[in-house]
Symmetry: C2
Subunit: 324 residues, 2 copies
Amino acid sequence: MTQRRDRADVSTYVSGLVARAREGDARSVARLISLVEDASPLLREVSAGLVGHAGNAQVVGLTGSPGVGKSTSTAALVTALRAAGHRVGVLAVDPSSPFSGGALLGDRVRMQEHATDPGVYIRSMATRGHLGGLSWATPQAVRVLDAAGCDVVIVETVGVGQSEIDIAGQADTTLVLLAPGMGDGIQVAKAGILEVGDGYVVNKADRDGADQVVRDLRSMLALAGHAPTAWKPPIVKTVASKADGLDQVVELIEQHRDWLAGSGELERRRLRRARDEIEIIAVTALRERFGDLSGHAGLDRLAAEVLAGQTDPYRAADTVLETV
Amino acid sequence: MTQRRDRADVSTYVSGLVARAREGDARSVARLISLVEDASPLLREVSAGLVGHAGNAQVVGLTGSPGVGKSTSTAALVTALRAAGHRVGVLAVDPSSPFSGGALLGDRVRMQEHATDPGVYIRSMATRGHLGGLSWATPQAVRVLDAAGCDVVIVETVGVGQSEIDIAGQADTTLVLLAPGMGDGIQVAKAGILEVGDGYVVNKADRDGADQVVRDLRSMLALAGHAPTAWKPPIVKTVASKADGLDQVVELIEQHRDWLAGSGELERRRLRRARDEIEIIAVTALRERFGDLSGHAGLDRLAAEVLAGQTDPYRAADTVLETV
């Protein structure tokens, strides 16, 4: 009885937060994101509470190697999007730092300019060593910002290893940031980048080598090949520190949204994403049971037995499956 | 009764193959690898039959972007390893082709030089669209070659996307191949390469730019940083087409094996690998049940419901888990 009462209280609390977030209350938005980020027991309530209140926001993934000017670009892009009348959410997903986001002081100051703007929500999220780098909480945090009325949600990730591909899986529109002088255009060829970009932003375009990066990129995109009817990823040059070229990035984002909607690709990408999300939640739940098992030294013991030539991996897997 | 009889026959058949493979019968080796590659119903029998007969071979992963000369290097490395008295197995894991391995005719001819050498087994494996590129059959195929007496098993993979990291997870020793003239040292910075290499081989070292690749690599490795007691990945220059420098690669492999054994890292890597292998077999079995569900339009229907704002991903995942 008490438990049922608690449950009802919790639902009321969460739906209150959602209602206030939808009216634009920044503290409720922050509270909801904290709940999903902490994977608190209320996570499921938040997820349920957001049903029907999300789906409008265009999720823009912004990725690139360290040093290309991601934080500066994000800040400048927010300004440009605001000027074009958008309400903007930013999730800075940082693999290492829980809050500072690895941003230089100047970037944080630039971001702070937006702190008093009620049309902008900015939030750093830690990844807590999540495999591949993207926080599992990101999709739910995006929904919170979406429900709060943001029509563009930027998810900024450091492009390391697998995360460009991850963000492409979670975004409607993926922008890859590049810059000259990063080791001879090395970052252009980083695994997967050519497959995931819906647009490429060559930042620091006032520096030597920017045109070379554009040329390298163009020829690599040509080599990679795209179906003739598909979206052709534009290349935009910016100098984010001087707020140069960001209007074109806004235009790119808006055009891509139109294309996504018109081509049916938006629906396809979102269906795939929802499918992936359900699957990962289910698989995570299953893997937690594996985790419990390995807490029992189950997996480790079985691995040692395989190594010692006492059993084989298939029989060991049977044992695992019997236990869960 | 019949089934039990069949089962006994199957065991006898497989253990016969294993026994003949251990005596060096190339046809039995080939048959066993086919059984694991086809995921035949006998796969489990083969896995069980190999228990206690594997664990001696040093698994050397050889990876690199297309065009660096992987096939040529593999062929030249096999010659050098044979000259140093090793028995060598080669698994060429190719993401696209079921057999030709994308190798040029000249490489295949070079490989064929080894075809009559009883101390060498060479096998191409298709990946059948396996996520990430590395065939799930690889660990079992390695065990077959190991049981057949190979003390070095080379697993050659095309370095695309995730596969360098995959191979590092499956190898005792990971060698990353590079070459000059591949787009300004671009491949040096490919995601993950700096973390996975136990050694770097700069092939085509007689060409312009080879020293630059070595310098780029050296400074990037210095930047990446390694614990002072850990293995410091050497950089070796080769001209595989002229069989130049391969002795140093053999030396690198032998030194790394000594280091692995002496430092306890061999045991650690293999335990992790056995653990991963058990887990992936178990997770694959579980995911097959998801597959069945989605065949029922289960996952797709649930994803559409999430998108339509009729449910949330956590409740959808519950439904998935109830069904499996």
